[in-house]
Amino acid sequence: MSKRWKWIAASVFFLIVVALPQFIQSAYYVHLLILIMMNAVLAMTFILLLRAGLLNMSMAAFWGIGAYSTGMLTLKGGLSFWVALPIAVAIAALVALVFGAILVRHAGLGFIIPSLIFAFIVPLVFGTFKVFGGHVGLIRIPAPNPIPLPGGHHITFASEQSYYYLLLALALIVVLVLLALYRSWVGRAWRALGLSSNLAQSVSISPFRYRLLGFVIVSAMAALMGVFFAAYSTNIQPGSYGPFKAIYIQMYAILGGVGNPIIGPVVGAAILTIIPEALRAVKNFEPMVTGALIILILIFLPQGILGLLHGRRPGDALGFLRNVVHGGRGNSNKVSASKEGVILERAKPADRDGEGAA
């Protein structure tokens, strides 16, 4: 697709997204759209770090940190939503900076497992301590204050529609920031690290610095979604932010196609938000169906659903995952990670015995 067509397609899509709630009467369907949009943004943040060579399982936890910070600041601190928003995002960024400084020193499983543990611990902390409301969570989080408009009108936050537009504004900011980042040399450094961290280092890209930067940025973005979710759902429970959500976020990304960092998550989140809703009648079977779907996608459509649109284009999930699990040490193609460095050097001296060398 040429650049011009991309712009046209993006504008049309945006107009549809803006106009959509006007044509939907049912609050339930608007609610679904809100969930889809929020999940899509969470999946976008997952893809950013995946492209930088880190499989991040902690997105749901930071989403929760954003939500709980908002709940605490508005309920216990008495602050308005609009004041709580930047503070909550800053709290999440700070937590990400501290934990990231420890976590991103390692790639591969050395990162995946600690980030998963983090995803387990955060909801446990929320559920255990009385300050955070224990397993009941925080209830009756106030709605954002009305925004005064010139002429005496106010934008009030009561209907599903109004929250839809609030989320749309936040999501738009995230998407624009992501697009700008991907185009900048930071985005290039991330991609280089994801494709081969050794080669990236040899062109003087510091894995630690760039991955930490990415970790802080995506954590802040996930927290921003949490801030919105706290005000939107008014009640938050620790269980919503657990590792299950982390796995779902990953699935939204993979289902849509990790080669498409913006549209892929939208497609993936749309499908995987609607399916569980449609399967509500048989709730216990829902994870089975979703799980089977993901396995089938990985086997038959490793580039995700969007991979169908543009034949053979790089960005297949299996390749990404394989590379990420190996710590991005190898080439993202056929050259295996073990061929480089230590392992080969160790194996060599033993290899040549018996060749008449003394």
Binding site: R188, L195, Q201, N331, L344, E345, R346, K348, A357
Partner: protein, 258 residues
């Protein structure tokens, strides 16, 4: 001539195996320096230690007088040591041109914010990188393949692309790990020609290679390693006729038995 790189007492042990033991060597400026030896002699390990991907067990590596030991690999790259990896290590999923542009990472002069909002000067610098990347691609003869994906290139071209990426970092010292291994004769001649061209631009080169004709053709100075120890050093002719080198490559026992 002055030494651009010096190794003093360089040693690397992996558990009980000593991969490199007490190696002293000095690479002169704008030299082509060869490092040869049978498989497992420790050549790649030496390269890994120079480029700081592995930390020596003991010893020093002085690059232009400053010790690189203990520095992270990306910082050493910033000093001006670039490395061509043994196995075509490329950014396989981005175009040939973008591969080279990644190499300009340390040359950028704009902060995150300027690049982020795309200020005019940041965009101009970016455009400058594209132009320079194309020049480098032309230099190694890959100009017309700039929009290809590296995965689709033949082996010889992939190696040349790796060279182009390392050149983009503006190195003072270029480490080439087996640049011609696995190439057909035509590709090999092309690579040798490019290596000579690189030297003419004033870049010092270190070469690990098994192909002896190429080594003897190119190198001004050769160090021979065997089991991690330096067994000979000197010009091509001198090294060729050294009995210790012959023994290492062909085996002493063979002669005795015959």
């Amino acid at each position: 001539m002055s030494a651009i790189l010096e190794a003093k007492g360089l040693t690397k042990r992996f558990g009980g195996v000593t991969a490199v033991s007490d190696l002293d060597m000095s690479v002169q400026e704008s030299q082509i320096f060869g490092l040869i030896g049978p498989n497992g002699a420790g050549k790649t390990t030496v390269f890994s230690m120079i480029s700081a991907f592995q930390r020596p067990t003991a010893g020093q590596v002085l690059f232009e007088g400053s010790d690189v030991v203990g520095k992270p690999a990306h910082a050493v790259a910033r000093l001006g040591i670039a490395r061509l990896f043994q196995h075509s290590l490329l950014f396989g999923n981005i175009t040939v041109l973008e591969n080279v542009i990644v190499g300009f990472h340390r040359k950028r002069s704009f902060g995150l914010f300027s690049s982020f909002v795309g200020t005019k000067r940041a965009r101009e610098e970016e455009e400058g990188f594209r132009v320079k990347a194309l020049e480098i691609l032309d230099f190694v003869g890959l100009g017309r393949l700039k929009d290809e994906l590296p995965v689709n290139l033949p082996h010889g071209h992939q190696r040349l692309l790796s060279v182009a990426t390392t050149l983009a970092t503006g190195p003072r010292l270029l480490l080439l790990d087996e640049p011609v291994t696995g190439m057909n004769p035509a590709e090999m001649n092309e690579m040798v020609r490019i290596i000579r061209k690189i030297r003419e631009t004033g870049i010092t080169l270190m070469l690990v290679e098994h192909h002896m004709r190429v080594v003897m053709d190119l190198c001004d100075h050769i160090v021979v390693l065997n089991y991690g120890q330096k067994i000979a050093e000197g010009g091509a002719q001198q090294v060729c006729t050294d009995p210790a080198v012959c023994a290492a490559y062909l085996g002493k026992g063979t002669y005795d038995a015959a």
